[in-house]
């Protein structure tokens, strides 16, 4: 599914390429795909519409930066805005003294409040706090028991009052307030610095239960109120987030079940509609599985694009754009030299380990998984190539044709490799030069992928899934390969 989406983006973006400036129409076209992507990720419709309009305004008339393609610039703007909107990040748990700092957890039924309470207790303990848990969910059968177990597992004391538990589904009026009040007293008495209240799940439209929550709130005046929201929630996320925020004035959000394969648009919706920071993500059933929120990965997850944005960004930082532009020109003219070859390789190496780069390219992440070793292989291969290059004279670098058997042996000795490796290296360069002509017009990403294939000596890799960027160039590509063959005969 991610791949399908990525392909769509690519095709829209491809159709944008080759223009110096992005026109409003281009942007609106591209944003239609973004809109669909966001909706498929369950971002609320209104949030999506606002977001798209915002990005369009932002993008209109922006210069395309040198050889960076408009498509990629758009991706970057979209991503930056998403990250922006999900920030500012504030994962601090504010405490008061004298304690206890009271934290109230609330949310819909089944969102994961109780488990999150346990996780939070463990998290706080690790930070040196002495938390206490309080069972204010008197509604769901065995909720108190569940919290007790979590208390044991995290070595956190639990305040509970079984006599207040609803016996037949009906919680007595005032019971929750009474338990919460008593819990605060108990936390004080035991000198705990943080008290976490686990409340019953409730629908935002349930008047009575929302009022109960408000009563608890008014009675104990919690210092922090967190809404616990299931990350798999659809369009309804805004309704509940809004309602809870209006009733209680939330301090932060916790998104649970982020270890599922949801794209997690609910996070963005809830954040937008409340304006409250996302504090934590629940990423597993174990009590350690609570993470402090960082927006970057989530943005690309919502867009369903792998970490293409990370790659573009990194490339943007690391690649010398001027040099790339010159190189592109040279490629088209077929003036690609050994120096350029090594220069290009060096730039790619600056991006980091191959496995990581591969992982960032949409559709290639599968590959990256089993390529891990292979990726390392590529690394050392590139290291060897660099060594060979270093041990060549300047004249040899200009005119590789000069390199005969004795020179080859000398170079090999200098580089600490086998003479065969030197021949291999030269062959690879030769092949690259021929192919570069064909790819001169490609965008940077495609070129990088191609380079990777070339440098690993593994041309098959280029035809791997995800290399569909090459598709349009297929005919030209083939042609060059034939020419290459002819060249060899000569």
């Amino acid at each position: 599914m991610f791949d399908v989406l990525t392909d769509k983006f690519t095709s829209v973006f491809r159709s944008l390429s080759g223009k110096g400036k992005i026109s409003e129409e281009n942007i609106r076209d591209a944003m239609r795909e973004v809109r669909t992507a966001l909706l498929e990720a369950d971002v609320n419709l209104k949030v999506v519409n606002d977001f798209c309009e915002h990005v369009i305004q932002k993008a209109i008339g922006q210069e395309v930066i040198k050889s960076l393609q408009p498509a990629q610039l758009m991706v970057k703007i979209v991503n930056d805005e998403l990250v922006n909107l999900m920030g500012p990040v504030d994962t601090t748990i504010y405490t008061v003294s004298p304690g206890p700092t009271v934290i109230m957890m609330c949310g819909l039924q089944g969102s994961g409040k109780t488990t999150t309470c346990g996780k939070l207790a463990l998290f706080l303990r690790k930070k040196g706090h002495q938390p206490m848990l309080a069972a204010v969910d008197l509604q769901r059968p065995a909720a108190v028991e569940q919290l007790r177990t979590l208390g044991q597992q995290t070595q956190t004391p639990v305040y509970a009052d079984d006599s207040r538990v609803a016996s037949h589904g009906q919680v007595a009026p005032g019971a929750a307030v009474a338990v919460a009040r008593a819990a605060v007293q108990e936390a004080k008495r035991q000198g705990r610095d943080i008290l976490i209240l686990d409340t019953a799940g409730r629908l935002a439209i349930d008047h009575e239960l929302m009022q109960e929550l408000k009563d608890v709130h008014d009675a104990v005046q919690p210092h922090q109120i967190f809404l616990v929201l299931d990350a798999m929630t659809g369009q309804d996320a805004v309704n509940s987030a809004k309602a809870f925020n209006e009733k209680l004035e939330l301090d932060g959000l916790v998104l649970t079940k982020f270890d599922s394969d949801t794209r997690g648009g609910a996070l963005l919706s809830a954040k937008m509609v409340t304006g409250k920071p996302v504090k934590f993500l629940g990423v597993g059933e174990k009590l350690e599985n609570l993470e402090e929120f960082r927006p970057e990965g989530v943005a690309s997850r919502i867009l369903g694009m792998g970490d293409i944005v990370g790659l573009v960004e990194e490339a943007h930082k690391q690649f010398d754009m001027e040099q790339q532009a010159k190189l592109a020109e040279k490629m088209e003219k077929g003036e690609f030299t050994l120096d350029d070859f090594i220069g290009q390789m060096t730039q790619i190496r600056k991006l980091g380990p191959m496995g990581k780069i591969l992982g960032m390219i949409p559709g290639m992440s599968e590959l990256a998984k089993n390529v891990n070793m292979n990726g390392e292989g590529v690394e050392s291969h590139m290291g060897r190539m660099q060594a060979i290059y270093n041990s060549m004279t300047r004249v040899e670098r200009k005119k590789p044709d000069l390199i005969d058997a004795p020179r080859r042996r000398r170079i090999a000795r200098g580089a600490g490799v086998d003479p065969n490796d030197v021949s291999q290296f030269l062959k690879q360069f030769e092949m690259s030069r021929n192919m570069m002509r064909a790819v001169g017009g490609m965008n940077m990403l495609s070129r990088m992928k191609l380079m990777r294939g070339l440098m690993s000596g593994n041309l098959g890799a280029i035809a791997q899934p995800g290399a569909n960027l090459l598709k349009t160039k297929r005919s030209g590509w083939q042609e060059k390969k034939d020419r290459n063959r002819k060249g060899k005969k000569r």
Partner: protein, 313 residues
């Protein structure tokens, strides 16, 4: 079969809750006399998307209306509404929405779903329905041996409903619980066994295998069992619901959905996509937290509800 019929009052009550707070403005979209235009089509698309029907589904249906409108075959909102209904209601045969009982011997219903979907509560509701409306003898199997206090939770329901339960200690093998429940049902001549399972994310392969194992054990003990594998889906779930349905079906051949928590503002529209892509029917809906809050699924009413406007003003 009026067997699942729910008293109208209760339903009205549940709907009223929504209406009160959200100032429900039912069917402003389809007011008679309203002519179809682009604004109208946009509004329909919005409704669908807001109901979690998915943007593709929404575009497909709106596309169909637009086509007919352009051809001059329909003109006004009421006609458009008929197109929508027609498209949304095909392939929902009644037979498929009812529980399949074993022809003889115990019927086994296995219940699965992601964490917190509403499985255990739904089991209580279903047990209540089978016992008190259809006069069946029911046995519960506490197959969630993982989550803290899950066994206690089901035990409390069994006590409240006066229904027998088979349980092991927390941490025990859930397949063994299912095994014992099947044996007990045969020995005691029980009509229906309902097996609870621990909530699990569909992405966790080892837990999905555990579920398969439970299913296999049931299949070995009782011929033709499990007769139903119900996937409980939280109505607030968005597009991820499709993936849930797919993974659970791949693992344990889901025979029907139970859509829980429809008493909130969420519409559960993702079941339309699940039906289209996987042909899994919705069998029941949950509309509250008490054992009475269960209804058989009525696609007509469901579609009507999709159009109710209850986004907070």
């Amino acid at each position: 079969m009026s067997f699942f019929a729910k008293t109208l009052d209760r339903l009205k009550g549940a709907l009223k809750k929504t209406a009160d707070v959200l100032n429900t403005d039912v069917r402003t979209l389809f007011v008679p006399g309203r002519q179809i235009d682009e604004a109208f089509l946009n509004e329909i698309e919005e409704k669908f998307i807001r109901a979690d029907m998915g943007v593709k589904n929404a575009e497909m249906i709106v596309g169909a209306i637009r086509d007919r409108w352009r051809l001059g075959r329909i003109r006004n909102a009421v006609e458009a509404r008929e197109v929508v209904k027609e498209m949304m209601l095909r392939d929902w045969p009644v037979e498929e929405r009812e529980i399949r009982f074993a022809s003889s011997g115990p019927t086994v219903i296995m219940v699965a779903g992601v964490n917190g979907a509403g499985k255990t509560t739904s089991i209580a509701k279903l047990a209540n329905l089978l016992k008190n409306r259809s006069g069946k003898s029911v046995l519960l199997a506490a197959g969630d041996t993982f989550r803290a206090a899950a066994v206690e939770q089901l035990t409390i329901w069994s006590q409240r409903l006066g229904i027998e339960i088979v349980k092991h200690k927390q941490g025990a093998d859930p397949a063994a619980v299912a095994f014992d429940a099947c044996e007990a049902a045969k020995a005691r001549g029980i009509d229906v066994v309902i097996v609870d399972t621990a909530g699990r994310l569909h992405t966790q392969a080892h837990l999905m295998r555990e579920l398969q194992k439970i299913r296999d054990v049931i299949a070995k003990r009782i011929e033709g069992a499990p007769h139903e594998v119900l996937l409980v889906l939280d109505a607030t779930t968005g597009q991820n619901g499709v993936r849930q349905a797919k993974s659970f079906t791949d693992a344990v051949q889901v025979t029907g959905l139970m859509l829980a928590k429809l008493d909130g503002t969420a519409k559960g529209g993702v079941v339309m996509t699940i039906k289209d892509e996987l042909s899994i029917p919705v069998k029941f809906i949950g509309i509250g937290e008490t054992p009475d809050d269960i209804e058989s699924f009525d696609p007509k009413r469901f579609v009507d509800a999709l159009f109710q406007d209850d986004s907070p003003k």
